[in-house]
Amino acid sequence: MSNKKTDQEKLDAIMEALGDSVLEASDDEIIEELRLAGVDPDAEAARLKAKMLATVKAFRQRALAAAQAGYRSRLEQVDRKPYAVPKTPAARRELFSFVIQQPQYAQYVTAQYRDLENLTDNDIESYLQDLAELGILPTPE
């Protein structure tokens, strides 16, 4: 029946079936087999649990460190980024007027900024700088 298989294939089939049989074994059987092999199930569970939890902790610390590094990098980019804010108050007001009328920028513009006539030149310049830092205004060529 199994003449056509090599010894390796036969052995692999046995080992695979034995490995899968563990998944069907009851908890009591597993505990008993660990004890038969000279393993303390509770101590082994505690050891493996500590090792796996340490892996999760290390991963979270790495992820946090990467996020912090990314945040620092973005801050540095903001500091270095040249603003696309026009130089004259009239040009800034014109640009701001254009921005607040664009639907895609609506989420960035609060109600108080939509009343253009009540805004000072300083308000507009400051708000355009905020938008530039957010990367919403185009970077100058």
Binding site: K5, D7, T55
Partner: protein, 212 residues
């Protein structure tokens, strides 16, 4: 019929590191024992193809692949131990598929050629992947003989082993030999414990061979 690739668990269903840590906390000693034994069986099965030496390294890799979002666990649909088993099975199967033997017979050097892109190749490359070397074949034969010897007086165990070697899954084995679930479980438990006790581990290439 074309097979669809497995659908990736959506972001909102994928377990977070906090949920993964909580699931680890909830595993029982029997869960750990089962995972450890399964992991060891995969390493034994792969022998030199395994890319780590111990079962718990494979278990660790399954967890790492989850944390690094290579794999995702949908905790609403899959038990955590079942996820880890699936991940270990997948990782170890990938090792087997990508395995390239490191050592090359000396005489084969004469057959090596360089292609147009400067890559050195041997006509035996394709053959080698499919064929264990003489040492491995000898070891496999010895282990099979030892398994046979272990169960020479256990007819039921021999029947189950023979069916496994032919690739039968548990329902097929039970049907073939007309065994009840309980009888089958009892025989399998006997085989597993005796093989474990005899230390029959065909892990030839990683310095952890238990077979002399």
């Amino acid at each position: 019929m074309a097979t669809k690739p497995p659908r990736r668990v959506p972001d909102q269903a994928a377990a977070t590191p906090e949920e993964i840590a909580a699931a680890i906390e909830e595993l029982t000693p029997a869960d750990w024992g089962r995972l450890g034994k399964f992991a060891n069986s995969r390493i034994r099965l792969l022998g030199p193809k395994a890319e780590c030496e111990a079962g718990e390294d494979l278990l660790q890799l399954a967890l790492t692949s989850l944390l690094e979002d290579i794999r995702r666990w949908n905790k609403a649909k899959v038990r955590f131990p079942d996820f880890l088993v699936g991940a270990m099975r997948s990782i170890s199967s990938n090792w087997a598929k990508s395995y390239k033997p490191e050592h090359v017979a000396v005489l084969e050097a004469d057959l090596r050629r360089e292609n147009e892109e400067g890559r050195i190749f041997s006509p035996l490359d394709a053959v080698r992947e499919q064929r264990p070397d003489a040492e491995q074949r000898m070891r496999d034969k010895q282990i099979l003989e030892q398994v046979d010897a272990l169960f020479k007086d256990d007819e039921q165990a021999q029947m189950v082993l023979m069916a496994w070697q032919d690739g039968c899954d548990p329902p097929a084995v039970r049907e073939l030999w007309n065994l009840s679930q309980k009888e089958y479980n009892t025989v399998v438990r006997r085989i597993r414990r005796q093989v474990d006790a005899a230390g029959l581990m065909p892990n030839s290439g990683k310095g952890k061979t238990n077979v002399q």
